[in-house]
């Protein structure tokens, strides 16, 4: 028999946590109870290190129908339409097996959406890779992109936007964050995971259970050691074809009002789904584990509880409706099996071949998980300088660098149009879908790691404001957001300090923009061999616009258009890309920034504005180059502050001279200024004294990828 230390190691529990288990149970844990505590008290399931800070995101908004605590957040967008969305990380599995890791990340986030009753309409992904020359990196890039494309394309949900970053802090710990959006049309029910109803059936649907991903949840909550090879047997295989059948059948039973509650068997599989559903409803379950359909009959009860086999759901239905449920699943080629029933409780009872092997009040697991207020320091900006000193960049170098080059190699592998709703795809800075009501639904990702490396607080604000401004520049009102907080080891004070600074800044931004954070996840322990990743609080913002007509383009469209720079410079910064020394000065005034965002949104409703783009990474030089096309360029004279520092925040607009006056008026209402900086021309891009042919620019931008990833081209 194992001694206690071995058991604690196997189940990834600390000595203090063990003491806590003894105190809540009033005795030592036995048998499968070990597995239950290991899974549900893991960082991944319990949010034990982040919970005290995540509360800062909470605020009331009448449009929020479901927020944290459910599978995904849901907002009401009027006209009988609602949307559900959420972002989640799949970092460690993707580093171990990039194709399956990324694919199952997409599958998992889709299940979180359609278990709410929403039909998935869009996918997006936020990816952070190491340097191209880092070991395995080309294969990781290729595998992750192939996994996302293989799953998303086959399941029939378009991938409409993404962000891809490269930095050596991700060399041994890449980030793969997937976001999914679902739509409820008029009359579609919002279904939750709250189990109810004495005597109701607990039903298992979808794929059979194998050993896939046993101990996955607790693995996701641990730093990588160099022996991560030995953790390999836990790889899970995703089947997008099966998921497609599950989507159709689940939406069908929900629409027919055949189910009481439903939840995906995600992290920690049957354990988390059953105990969480019971706890939420304040009921008990009697579950016969031997009735779980198995792929391999040698799988035992503990493995059944912890298996993370994909494409499985647990649902509650009234006994009288079970035959109808079964019929729907059969129609789609799937099985449904009764595992047991709901009773007044409060305990969940687990049986194996007739024997009661565990009886526990689910609240012991879900409500008594340890909560850590890990030590952190109040935020003090470190790299603040009086005057920025930065050498100008060479535009061609920037455009062909891995940071600046086109991501077409990636997104050309994604089906961006299945579903026939896509109005603006991955090519654009904001992706747009046309809703059945005719309105435009905008989606954009946020968080710029180079800003986070300059200052975690500025980066936290920027994770909300930058995407909000991108939406506003296309005339979309930001409505709500989701986040995926990727950080290093929270037991280290400097990491926890960055976490708290970023969360507080993001929470303030959400409040001021009236865009609540309605869902998300936290991924800690992104640390390998003592190197922590860049703290990366990625976000996804959604916005709405009255129609999909007359949305400004992200590139120039008319020769002779005047080019305007609308600016509210609060922070000036130089990122660390291309070997520069990071520096910044200034501070974000969130109130002012929010008024700026709103003024931009209102002003671009003017249909004469042809082009808009938020000034982003590297500075104005890169932004203007991105607005050039094969034929249209620009002539821009010297601009105050130069072309190669970033200013938070600025927007570049293009249109006829007639738009200048109304734009200037709008700018003055929010304490910002608007200046004409140049004209749209043909054939060249002139930045002050520098002149580049468009051929040269396009060549650099379009071949930079293959220069950096020769094997992948």
């Amino acid at each position: 028999m194992d001694n206690l230390a071995d058991k604690l190691k196997k189940y990834r529990l600390s000595k203090d946590e063990y003491a806590r288990i003894e105190s809540v149970l009033g005795r030592a844990p036995q048998g499968v109870e070990w597995a239950l505590f290991s899974a549900l008290w893991s960082e991944h399931c319990s949010y034990k290190s982040s919970r005290v800070h995540l509360k800062k995101f909470a605020f009331n908004s009448p449009r929020v129908l479901q927020a944290m605590g459910e599978n995904a957040g849901v907002i009401d967008i009027g006209h009988g339409e609602k949307v559900a969305f959420k972002m989640e990380s799949h970092n460690h599995p993707s580093f171990i097996e990039p194709y399956q890791g990324a694919a199952t990340g997409v599958g998992g986030i889709l299940r979180d959406i359609f278990t709410m009753g929403a039909r998935p309409i869009a996918l997006a992904n936020f990816l952070c890779f190491g340097r191209p020359e880092a070991p395995r990196m080309p294969q990781l890039v290729e595998g992750v992109v192939a996994g996302i494309s293989g799953y998303g394309n086959c399941v029939g949900v378009p991938t409409i936007t993404g962000q891809t970053e490269f930095h050596d802090s991700y060399n041994n710990n890449i980030l793969v964050n997937a976001l999914a959006v679902g739509l409820f049309c008029e009359g579609d029910p919002v279904v939750t995971s709250v189990a109810k109803g004495n005597g109701n059936y607990v039903v298992y649907v979808g794929a059979k259970t194998g050993r896939d991903g046993v101990h996955g949840a607790s693995m996701a909550s641990e730093s990588f050691a160099s022996d991560s090879e030995s953790k390999r047997p836990t790889v899970q295989i995703g089947d997008p074809f099966f998921e497609k059948l599950l989507i159709e059948s689940c939406l069908d039973v929900m629409k027919q009002d055949l189910v009481v509650a439903i939840q995906d068997m995600g992290a920690a599989g049957l354990t988390s789904s059953s105990f969480e559903m019971a706890a939420k409803g304040g009921v008990g379950f009697k579950i016969h584990l031997d009735r779980v359909p198995l792929r391999d009959t040698s799988v035992g009860p503990e493995e059944i509880l912890l298996s993370e086999s994909q494409e499985r759901m647990l649902l509650i239905c009234e006994p009288a409706k079970f035959e109808a449920v079964k019929k729907v699943f059969h129609h789609w080629g799937l099985d449904a099996s009764v595992l047991g029933e709901v009773y007044d409780g409060p305990e969940v009872e687990l049986y194996w071949k007739g024997d009661l092997i565990c009886k526990m009040d689910p609240k012991i697991l879900t409500d008594n998980a340890p909560v850590y207020n890990r030590p952190y320091q109040k935020w003090a900006p470190k790299k603040q300088t009086a005057e920025l000193k930065a050498k100008d960049l060479n535009l061609i170098d920037v455009l062909s660098s891995v940071e600046g080059t086109s991501r077409r190699w990636i997104y050309q592998q994604y089906d961006q149009r299945v579903g026939a709703k896509t109005a603006r795809d991955c090519d654009d800075s904001v992706s747009v879908q046309r809703l059945p009501s005719g309105r435009g639904f905008g989606l954009v990702l946020g968080c710029r790691p180079h800003v986070m490396r300059v200052d975690a607080q500025v980066g936290g604000y920027d994770s909300g404001f930058y995407p909000a401004l991108e939406l506003a520049a296309k005339g979309f009102r930001p409505l709500a957001m989701t986040d995926c907080l990727n950080f290093g080891n929270p037991e280290k004070e400097e990491i926890m300090s960055e976490f708290v600074a970023a969360v507080e800044a993001l929470a303030e931004t959400a409040k001021i923009l009236d865009s609540p954070v309605i869902s998300g996840n936290v991924s800690f322990y992104n640390e390998t061999l003592n190197q922590n990743i860049t703290s990366t609080p990625s976000t996804g913002l959604v916005g709405l616009r009255e129609s999909v007509e007359n949305i400004p383009r992200s590139h120039f469209t008319h020769k002779g258009d005047a080019i305007y720079l609308w600016r509210l410079p609060q922070v000036e910064l130089v990122g660390d890309q291309l070997g520069r020394t990071p520096q910044f000065k200034g501070a974000i005034d969130a109130q002012k920034a929010a008024r700026f965002v709103d003024a931009v949104r209102v002003a671009v409703q003017n249909p004469s504005i042809n082009s808009s783009r938020v000034n982003g990474k590297f500075g104005l030089g890169y932004t203007l180059a991105r607005m050039c096309t094969e034929t249209l360029g620009a002539a821009v004279d010297a601009v105050a502050g130069g072309f190669w520092t970033e200013r938070l925040y600025e927007v570049v607009l293009a249109g006829p001279e007639s738009v200048m006056e109304p734009l200037q008026k709008a700018a003055s209402t929010c304490g910002s200024e608007l200046v004409k900086i140049g004209t749209v021309t043909e054939g060249t891009l002139q930045l002050g004294p520098q002149k580049h042919s468009l051929n040269e620019l396009n060549k650099a931008y379009n071949t930079g990828w293959s220069q950096n990833f020769a094997q992948l081209a």
């Binding site: 029939g156 074809f241 592998q413 089906d415 149009r417 299945v418 579903g419």
Partner: protein, 215 residues
């Protein structure tokens, strides 16, 4: 008004988009489920939508080709009803031999999503009105048209090459994007007309295909 039959297999994912496109041109779609046979006279035309039937496992279209609904579709094709296979639907029609040739993995072995320009090469029941270049999106991993040299020659001789790419996205032999049978009622096309039905989608050229259902 006669109905348009839209086939549905396990895994088909462009079915709802085709449904919408059929409605957009003012016609009435109806599902034809893979397990069921149907009366061919009940419908005026048939569309086999795209999108990963059976996950593209084994070979694209191979498992769908064996479904009972394809028996009836074969009957409809023989009787001269217009049949259009889009993307995976094209692959299914090739697997059932209703259309010649096969669709294999893209030359660069990667899925490709982009807009392409197409040259209609011949008039069929599905493009009575389209003569000039049309712009449609492609989205496929296995869209490279393949046929043996003799067969290719015969296709050109019998005017069975329906559409060709202006810029070949997948290495298709002789730039072939779509073919038809000898009678020109059964057509297969890799690009997706149902995703190009309005300017906000990026183009409306798909209408010329779908509107040919109006006769």
């Amino acid at each position: 008004m006669k109905k348009i039959g839209v086939l549905r297999f396990l895994g088909t994912n462009c079915d709802r988009d085709v449904w919408q496109a059929v409605e957009d041109v003012g016609l009435k779609p109806e599902w034809l489920w893979y397990e069921d046979q149907f009366q061919v006279a009940d419908y005026s035309a048939y569309v086999v939508p795209g999108g990963f039937s059976y996950g593209d496992y084994l070979r694209c279209g191979a498992l769908a080709a064996k479904a009972p609904v394809m028996k009836s579709l074969g009957e409809a094709a023989a009787k001269g009803y217009p049949v259009l296979g889009i993307c995976n639907g094209f692959q299914i029609l090739c697997e059932t031999k209703l259309l010649p040739g096969a669709l294999v993995r893209n030359e660069k072995r990667k899925f490709v999503d982009r807009w392409v320009s197409l040259n209609p090469q011949t008039q069929t029941k599905w493009n009575a009105k389209a003569r000039a270049v049309i712009k449609l999106p492609v989205a496929h991993g296995e869209g490279r048209y393949y046929a043996e040299t003799e067969e290719l020659k015969a296709l050109w001789d019998q005017e069975q090459v329906w559409m060709t790419y202006v810029e070949n996205p997948n290495g298709a032999l002789e730039d072939i994007a779509g073919v038809c049978n000898k009678q020109k009622n059964v057509c297969g096309l890799m690009p997706h007309p149902e995703r190009a039905m309005a300017d906000w989608m990026g183009g409306a050229d798909g209408r010329v295909i779908m509107e040919s259902l109006l006769g």
